[in-house]
């Protein structure tokens, strides 16, 4: 576990696009499915360019954060599926915790300001 944690920490911090892709891959999706999921995500989706997505997928596969999960056949189109690995899940967890800590820190200060200014 400690080993997985230290391995996962090497990938932090993530870019917004990479984080959104990992979150989308909590379940197996193909590239187009990732673009749709990321665009529709709660709390403001982001538009993902195909060049950015391809580069991120290549790096995440190399780093072992995601793995191939076979093909999906919808109609005549065959697409590769990807899914989070245990390492990828750990990276999402650690990054979420890190962002939580930062957000808490920020909110403490913001709350103080609101009291000052009514």
């Amino acid at each position: 576990m400690a080993n997985l944690d230290s391995q996962a920490r090497r990938h932090l911090p993530l870019t917004e696009a990479t984080f959104a892709i990992l979150v989308a891959l909590a379940e197996p999706r193909h590239g187009y499915g990732i673009m749709q999921a990321v665009a529709q995500a709660d709390g403001g989706g982001i538009r993902l360019g195909p060049g950015t997505l391809y580069g991120a997928l290549t790096k995440l596969l190399e780093g072992g954060l995601i793995a191939r999960a076979g093909d999906s056949n919808t109609g005549d189109e065959r697409r590769k599926l990807y899914v989070l690995t245990p390492l990828g899940r750990r990276v999402v967890r650690l990054e979420s915790e890190r962002l939580d800590r930062m957000a808490r820190l920020g909110r403490q200060i913001i709350d103080g300001w609101e009291e000052d200014h009514g």
Partner: protein
């Protein structure tokens, strides 16, 4: 049979954005890129249209290429041509700003790093050849010309490396300014 037109034009390796903007301009005038080889563009006449052109640099194996082009196709981008690992994409943009194949600075920078990687290898090879080769004395007049051409190639490649590095710094600086 649509009217075609060939245009001879050279862009340096660091001018891919300028090249894309020119192709967009041609499309606005009703000339749509059909194919290209080094320095020679073939356009097909048609309706003037707002079309975004974007270039990516990537070396791909056959299987990778299918996956890569599939992603672009799904996102509505048509691959028009591939030349020396530069992939030319286009997408109709009838309204609003022109779309991009990249959506963040990190991936735009990565593209120029890939270009930089190959340029540095070619530059290193040229430097090695220039500094180690011994041409026979009998070639004396030709030898000077060959050396001059090689030196020119090294200078151009070195300049290209600097320009690509400047491009990367510019992207990072723009990102910091937001």
């Amino acid at each position: 049979m649509a009217e075609t037109r060939r245009v001879f034009k050279l862009f340096f390796v660091w001018q891919d954005e300028r090249e894309a903007a020119w192709l967009t301009q041609m499309a606005a005038e009703g000339w749509h890129l059909r194919s290209l080889t080094i320095g020679c563009y073939t356009f097909e006449g048609g309706e003037p249209a707002a079309v975004a052109y974007r270039l990516d640099y990537r070396r791909l194996t056959g299987a990778e290429r299918d996956e890569y082009l599939g992603l672009f196709r799904d996102a509505g981008w048509e691959r028009v041509a591939t030349l020396a690992n530069w992939h030319y994409f286009r997408k109709a943009a009838p309204e609003g700003p022109l779309p991009d194949i990249f959506s963040d600075t990190a991936s735009r920078v990565d593209k120029y790093r890939r270009v930089l990687g190959i340029l540095v290898v070619i530059l290193a090879l040229n430097v090695v050849i220039l500094t180690t080769q011994r041409l026979p004395d009998a070639m004396t007049p030709a030898r000077e010309i060959i050396r001059l051409l090689q030196a020119g190639a090294v200078i151009l490649l070195g300049w290209a490396v600097l320009r690509i590095m400047a491009q990367i710094s510019r992207l990072k600086r723009d990102a910091r300014r937001g």
